[in-house]
Symmetry: C2
Subunit: 350 residues, 2 copies
Amino acid sequence: MASKRLHLHICEQLRELVEILQDPSPPPICLPHDTQTGSADPNQMSNAEDHGEVPNDAAPRFHLEKAVSHESLVIGAIENAFKHMDEQIERERASQHLPGGCCALAAIYLMGKFYVANAGDSRAIIIRNGEIIPMSREFTPETERQRLQPGLFPALLRPELLGKEFTHLEFPRRIQPKELGKKMLYRDQNMNGWAYKKIEEDDLKFPLIFGEGKKARMMATIGVTRGLGDHDLKVFSSNIHIKPFLSCFPEVRVYDLTQYEHCPDDVLVLGTDGLWDVTNDKEVAGVVMEVLTSYEPNDPCRYTMVAQELVVRSRGVLKEHGWRLANDKLGSGDDISVFVIPLGGPGNYA
Amino acid sequence: MASKRLHLHICEQLRELVEILQDPSPPPICLPHDTQTGSADPNQMSNAEDHGEVPNDAAPRFHLEKAVSHESLVIGAIENAFKHMDEQIERERASQHLPGGCCALAAIYLMGKFYVANAGDSRAIIIRNGEIIPMSREFTPETERQRLQPGLFPALLRPELLGKEFTHLEFPRRIQPKELGKKMLYRDQNMNGWAYKKIEEDDLKFPLIFGEGKKARMMATIGVTRGLGDHDLKVFSSNIHIKPFLSCFPEVRVYDLTQYEHCPDDVLVLGTDGLWDVTNDKEVAGVVMEVLTSYEPNDPCRYTMVAQELVVRSRGVLKEHGWRLANDKLGSGDDISVFVIPLGGPGNYA
């Protein structure tokens, strides 16, 4: 249901741009009075323009005027759609009894381009002629250190937010009380390198970001730093809200389909962490190749079969000691959703 | 004088790491009690280790322990040296009657590696076999949007800091009062794309970051977002301090000299903005090549002559209508300092 709502929000944002995007000249910096880009009714907009009240600002008439591309308008629309979705979840969480949150990964095809928007730990890759092109990156406390650390600044200014229970300093591991007075490696939010400092009482507090890679956690609670919802999430057994440290804004990557000739084996693969936890990019590309070549290039089922095979392989087979992968490692315990979208369209090989 | 002080701070920070850096095993996460890495006296450290009070933590004994490299210790030392320099400037600005600020670019050669630390709008490049390798990047309100925008968060929380005179929204150009009620392109600190919004009274405030490229200014005041000093700098005719938005921390880039065979024409060029305002990387590389080939490879003067030539060409020649470059454009009005450091050492061509 959430994905349908997000779909609606994205449509709503884009609908208002239809006329501007169809016009090959740069988007107008300023629209005339009463233009209803803020509403969901595209008709009003053309009305306003028909009135011809104020000339359109398309031609740069100011010295310091930034050029804004059509592409960045679409990106802005998708970003705002995610924000509106997050606000809707906030409004409806009580009536819908849905206090949780989720990550979101959306692929929007518009005027020859794929816009892949990601907020969370899902992942998208394009496989083109066997080559892997990442279309998203994971947002974990580690990968987002750069964003989170300046974001911690308000926390430092407002101790009530941090609950006086966390230290903003990063240490290579937890400090033990008996180590008070020793010198330990640390870095603060401005540093990329490390230095030694004498351990004080305050340093024994729990670090805001702790752990590495998939195990990194923010405030010992969540491992994902972007996503929708989770408005009421608090640090375990405390009154500290997590939401101010989460971002609902996606990173949007753009792939221009018109720049390449795509064959029927070129695909965009979208998957949740259940897939990527146990299957890396290369393995996914291998399965794509393997399954696609076992079907005729004009068989519409072949992409569905790839997605199904990717899910099955990541889940594994139920054996005596639980779900096991082909290599006998544990199958993915997380939810596994996979989409495989053809870039070349059905057809014969060239 | 400031450069000598910064030199001292860097030496002081590095001196404490001498023994650790000479030990090929990973830096210990934790040092024994009373180890004086915090002081300037390296002898006390070896004393403490001689006592053998507490075993050294070099071997990872904890599950979640981050590996810290020697290199990142040096980076941390340089970062802290910049911070201490900034604090010294703050302490002494009254007694020394030095209220200003400056950018800082430092190149440190240590154990086979060049560490280039940059805070400001100076620039360093390596020219190796004619190839240009950037060793720094400029820090302007535009390039640092990512750092500044989350940094603006505290400003949003504390209106008294922003003086209620600035808007955190970005518009492609200044808005005119008569445009109130129109729809204009904008983006906020979370967005990479652009969208339309109806212009309200608040949007007429001056934008925090305004302008593009070299002309971009933060709070209409400074064009550089990192540097030392400027503790008392305020927004023109206001009480708003700029310093909270400035960072004294450098970005440190590392170049491993042992990874390549360097010839006597391979150099590191450090220059202030006076050089780079009128001379681009490629032109600098051209002058380097031109001047170096006109001297014997074992002539120690040749690097000095390159630096001199770069300064002269950026200043230009005094003509009727002021200082003019070879292309008759205006010469650099800013200060021009250039260092040219050989990477291959003097010698004959191989």
